[in-house]
């Protein structure tokens, strides 16, 4: 199995994607409502809007990656190899905990 980002709990790309998409969206809306161009900023652009869009794009990519990998694991679930180094005591501990 390659590094698909699939973990024993939730794929970390979900929270990263959600956080940055939400932050980016907030920036875009706020920047559009209250445009500020800063006095010393060398670029005369609305930073909130443009960087907000960049964050939304990054968040969307993460969510897309997480969604793709979730779908892939749902298609071929149980016969994935166990962690190759999982030894007996660990397996026993897991069983006991369940």
């Amino acid at each position: 199995m390659s590094d698909s980002g699939q973990m024993h709990a939730i794929d970390i790309r979900w929270p990263i994607g959600v956080l940055f998409a939400a932050m980016g969206l907030t920036l875009v809306i706020y920047g559009a409502a209250e445009p500020s161009f800063g006095s010393v900023v060398p670029l005369r652009i609305n930073l909130d809007v443009w960087w907000g869009l960049a964050l939304v794009l990054f968040g969307a990519l993460m969510i897309w990656g997480a969604w793709l990998s979730d779908r892939r694991t749902r298609q071929q679930p149980p016969d994935l190899p166990q962690h190759p180094l999982q030894d007996e005591s660990e397996a026993a501990a897991r069983k006991a905990a369940r």
Partner: protein, 537 residues
Amino acid sequence: MHLAFIDYFIIFLYFALVLGVGFALKRSTRTSLDFFLSGRSIPAWVTGLAFISANLGALELFGMAASGAQYGMLTSHFYWIGAIPAMVFIALFMMPFYYGSRARSVPEFLRLRFDEKTRLFNAFTFALMTVLTGGINLYAMAIVFKLMLGWSLNSTILLSAAVVLVYIWLGGLTSSIYNEVIQFFLIVLGILPVAVLSMMNAGGWRGLAARLPAGDLHMWTNLGRPSANPMGIQWFGLVAGLGFVLSFGYWCTDFLVVQRAMAARDMASAQKTPLIGAFPKVFIPFLIIVPGMAAWAVIPHAEFLVGGQTNYNLALPLLLARYYPAGLLGVGITALLASFMSGMAGNVTAFNTVWTYDIYQSLFRREAPDSHYLSMGRAATVFGVAISIGAAYAAVQFSNIMNYLQLIFSFVNAPLLATFLLGMFWKRTTSEGAFWGLAGGTGVGVLHLIFTGLGWVSYPSDMAANFWRAIYAFSTCFLLTVLISVFTTPHPDEKLHGLVYSLTDRPGYRHLGWIRRPVTMGILVLLLVAALNWVYR
């Protein structure tokens, strides 16, 4: 600096998400191994980013930007010679033992290779170091936010400690690692605009060259004599002290970072963890140090004055205040908050593991059901956080003592490196040699610290003193260990399989394409660093 409602809203989004992740992870945290080592199931890109992120705390951000403003490109030595070679070394040469031995912590590896007393020596110094460092982190965070935003010390310390406590309690190391990865992206995406804007403002590299003292743009040209460069260092002290002892000591033996690799899901992922971390690490100077230089070049120097004295630590806050409008400022502040909190969380997770496995299980209850150790881990999280809060308040009262403690910690890993190098690569090393070598090396470090404190030994700069202290502590441990080992009985070979280089099979990667093999990645990142050292020589 003043935060608007929108900035607080963005900070709120982050807190909500962090706690949400903790609750989501609680369901999958069933065994002690889930809690302390994430069930050894995390893919390499995640552990790799956590590996460098655990070290990319806010103190590092402020300090490196400040050092960039003060010393220029010389600061990049902390990355290109002070981190990357050690990261490649641990990946290629030490990870096969750490991960392959199935030890659950660095002190536990010491027990497998040597004996119980060496393990306990390391477990106690390390546990003390982590809770106090966690406290220093909290304290620094409270001071920074008080200065920048006028937040009260109490609310910053207690609120952030509570959040860290809740998410580690719920998800253990996995929570901590997830937060480190989130923090990594927050720092990169929260600081990148300021890095670009400040460089544009300064007129690019040429503009910097015109505005800063000529020495600020070189890494090696002025290292012939300590007096020729503002850091007061000389090339040998730099290469041996920082490049070898301090950096290898930290990256190769500090459980705080090694724990991330131990959480990887197989040997290949464990070996790739430091290597995957190394690639972004190479570029962090451009994100933090170079903007620090740009800050000194474009911001009037009067703005750095606090009570008549230049305070370089203001470089990063001044940049944020200068370039970021409301909204984006919230993202920048969230990045700083996140890195303070995950810095503390890293210390707490390393502490609860070492406490539970290496101190509690070793001294108090050897055989107990797994669920007992899981509960103990959660309890250790609570008192680890409580001690850190206590340490933070102690630091508020006696900031000098904390500075002194931090100096002590700066060389704890130096003698330990000698113990590990000898233990892993010389099968003749004995338990007695390891223990007394380690104790002697640490003792020499403490003595050296006292002597420099009293002025009996003096150096051109504190940094030079740090480098040489590490060299002395390391050499003492190395020599003592060798000497005592020669006169004592070693472990029989059959007990050392998987623990010593000459008695362990190397992991084979023929099934991986050449580009995905750890060796190739290591060589690539070393070439990259060599090229950068040449460009900015």
